[in-house]
Symmetry: C2
Subunit: 464 residues, 2 copies
């Protein structure tokens, strides 16, 4: 290892090879807060440096873990004491913005928020948005195919990427920096790297697609009398809002009641006795026509009895207080400690029964267990918060089995947007067929035959 670090040091400069306390002073990630255990942290300043570092590591068969903003939730950036962490924290440049083609070229270490701001500076917007925007990086967003709060309208990170550059395990630079909406010249190689969690290559730069601005934001909280009404409302808003619907965040009563009435953390904007609540947001260009269209769509939903009650935010403050209920993770942690959280997806028509059965199974096995649910319903994505009074591995394992096992039969996924990392790799087979997992291993071997990149993440070694 020392010999390798000596080889790497002149590539990136001595100040950019961290060892000892400089490593352990850093957290492994945002979630756990434990110290980083990597043998060293290397901070290249360019794609060329990444490539040279990887050539040296490849020759030495040195495993490498790529670090972005460390905001992941599935232990996808953990590095053991025999691994090198490669941090893209110095590669934060926004290299170019083309307002005519609506494209932005950026280094992978740039924070999501800096891309959003650069887009706004030319009267456009970057469509991806999520809570960690200030610290998560574009490279991490790409590697994990990030989702967030506007997927119904704009899709996931994959749909925002026009081109990218990646460094393979052997140091080869694959530069696919396409800037056009359409390019069918051969296989679309960027798709390999998007969502593969750093296992197939290190994303170093990207060309992102920007969207026209939608300055008028209409937000409402509505109450729904049943799950059928909830799905009816989703279709209704699709029809009446002409594609401007951006958020359809469904809260089961248990979730809404916990965070408003029970915790006292939020004044309930609507009485907490409806079976379901939905936070709605629509993005339009002009306040007058878009506001009228949004109000009319809700009026019709009331007339059709799809919803029983509604409140439309009349100011940005009101908007924020509605979102604060839906986003109050702190409130969940306080009430449901120790908290186990899950990120699953399944076909929308199956959700209600899935949640009901899971609740039944949970309270059967843990009479004092408790669970609340909300989800990006339009995306088929549920976030489930559970406590059983214990965070012991055995309890967690038992709960994971209750949550994940029914998904296999329903064609659901053990990971909607968080990825697999180390945490869910043993459940991958619930959502993927043996042929799919074999093909994943085939790709891994083809691109990284020595298994150096983000070793043992996504694919457990025993699967091979």
């Amino acid at each position: 290892m020392d010999a390798l670090l000596k080889e790497i040091t002149p590539i990136v400069g001595a100040a950019n090879v961290l060892t000892g306390e400089d490593v352990s002073a850093r957290r492994v990630d945002w979630l756990t807060g434990a110290p980083c255990r990597a043998k060293a942290i290397v901070r290249p300043g360019s794609t060329r440096e990444v490539a040279e570092v990887m050539r040296a590591c490849h020759a030495a068969r040195q495993p490498v873990v790529t670090h972005g903003g460390l905001t992941g939730l599935v232990h996808g950036t953990e590095a053991g004491p025999d691994e090198l962490a490669l941090s893209l924290e110095r590669m934060t440049a926004i290299e170019a913005v083309d307002p005519v083609s609506a494209t932005l070229t950026v280094q992978a270490g740039a924070a999501l928020q800096s891309v959003q701001q650069a887009a706004e500076a030319v009267d456009l917007q970057f469509a991806l948005d999520l809570g960690a925007r200030g610290s998560c990086t574009i490279g991490g967003n790409i590697a994990t195919n990030a989702g967030g709060i506007r997927v119904i309208r704009y899709g996931m990170m994959r749909q925002q990427v026009l081109g990218l550059e990646a460094v393979l395990a052997d140091g080869t630079v694959v530069s696919s920096m396409n800037r056009m909406l359409k390019n069918n010249a051969g296989f679309d190689l960027k798709q390999l790297f998007i969502g593969s969690e750093g296992v197939l290559g290190i994303v170093t730069r990207a060309v992102l697609h920007l969207q026209p601005p939608t300055p008028d934001v209409q937000t409402a909280l509505v109450a729904c009398p049943s799950f059928e009404h909830l799905t009816g409302l989703l279709g209704h808003l699709g029809r009446y809002l002409g594609g401007s619907l951006a958020a359809f965040e469904a809260m089961w009563q248990s979730h809404y009641r916990l965070l408003t009435q029970e915790s006292g953390r939020h004044t309930p904007p609507l009485p907490p006795d409806a079976p379901f609540y939905v936070l709605l947001e629509s993005l339009g260009s002009e306040p007058q026509s878009h506001g009228a269209q949004f109000a009319l769509a809700l009026e019709r939903a009331l007339e059709d009895e799809l919803i029983s009650d509604a409140v439309i935010a009349q100011s940005d403050t009101q908007r924020q207080s509605l979102w604060a209920i839906r986003e109050d993770i702190e409130g969940l942690i306080q009430a449901l400690s120790p908290l186990l959280t899950f990120d699953v997806s399944l076909p929308i028509p199956e959700m209600d029964r899935y949640v009901t059965r899971l609740e039944e199974a949970l309270t059967r096995d843990w009479p004092r267990g408790r669970m609340v649910t909300f989800g990006h319903l339009g995306d088929g994505n549920l976030h489930i918060s559970i406590t059983v009074g214990s965070a012991e591995p055995a309890a967690r394992l038992a709960v994971e089995r209750l949550v994940y096992t029914p998904l296999a039969e329903l064609g659901g996924s053990v990971s909607a947007e968080h990825g697999i990392g180390l945490e869910k790799r043993h459940y991958l087979a619930l959502s993927r067929t043996p042929e799919e997992i074999t093909l994943m291993h085939t790709l891994k071997r083809a691109l990284d035959p020595h298994g150096l990149l983000n070793r043992h993440k996504v694919l457990a070694p025993e699967d091979g």
Copy 2:
């Protein structure tokens, strides 16, 4: 070969193994009209049959070419006398429609139009649309990542596919029939097969994402005083139409004038003296508000002098007559015979200069040569029609070089939406780096080590 056909016959039934005149009576594709030269055409009726046929072919090292609707434009479905054609014409079932999740499950041989109709039957729509809708198949749309006339709004075929099932060269069935908008459980394998032109696997089934209906269609033809005004108009409509813009079809003056004034085939809706014309289409939910918004956006464009003239279609007949100009391929063939057509993409700000220089180069080399241009401008995609009075291979080759060579420096693509097939594989290196092409070969070898699927298409053997 006879032994192999004997093995295949019981799998698909004797009626579904065509040989001799049954083969040569069929055209190789829509474009050339020459007879099919394949040794046999095999028509499996299910994924299982496709898999069994491929297992037999794999054991016998038999090359196979997959046939869908045969509407491709780059000779991607040509089969030589030593190749077997595998036609999905019997696999046309629409297996399921889920209006709540807005998904449709279909066999790959179904025609695009049948999917559009099945979506409309549940008050939704399928976003992909293109001229060949009646005969092109969903499998072909996926294999070529089809584009079409609504890409600005909905993206290409890739964005409409939630899941798919593919049969590999060895007969392995990779079933990734995901039905959710979000699924980050491991690599997104479907992306491998989308747009890879049948070279990596045979797509047999798919889950498609449906969109809310947009019953109100607003269409206009506008005149633009310069290219800068044209790109200014694109940004303007992005801002004022809140994402409802679906078509921005730019016609250079030469194109508009040829098809209206010169050919006399269409009454010019606007005088033919402007440098550029654009056919605009916006899709909304409600006629009143959407129509007003569209008219207002055009009024403002007139006020800002982004456009010099405009006509809004007042009826479906008027709409169709506007589209008839833009879609009059027959008129181009009559006027520019023998016609050479090109499908390229490049960053929008580079287009004007690219077209001007290409015109100069063309008339320098062929004083009587002629070229007209239109394009899905918002997608960065130009379709260029050229005649030099000859269709001889040498002339075609010389023109191809003029069209394609400048794209390398501009970061453009030799294929925006038609694909590579046999026709463009020798130009692939103009749009892709050596590292990209090497990686494409790596993937091909990993998935189809004997090179049986759509042999020599996309990747020329000498590239390996």
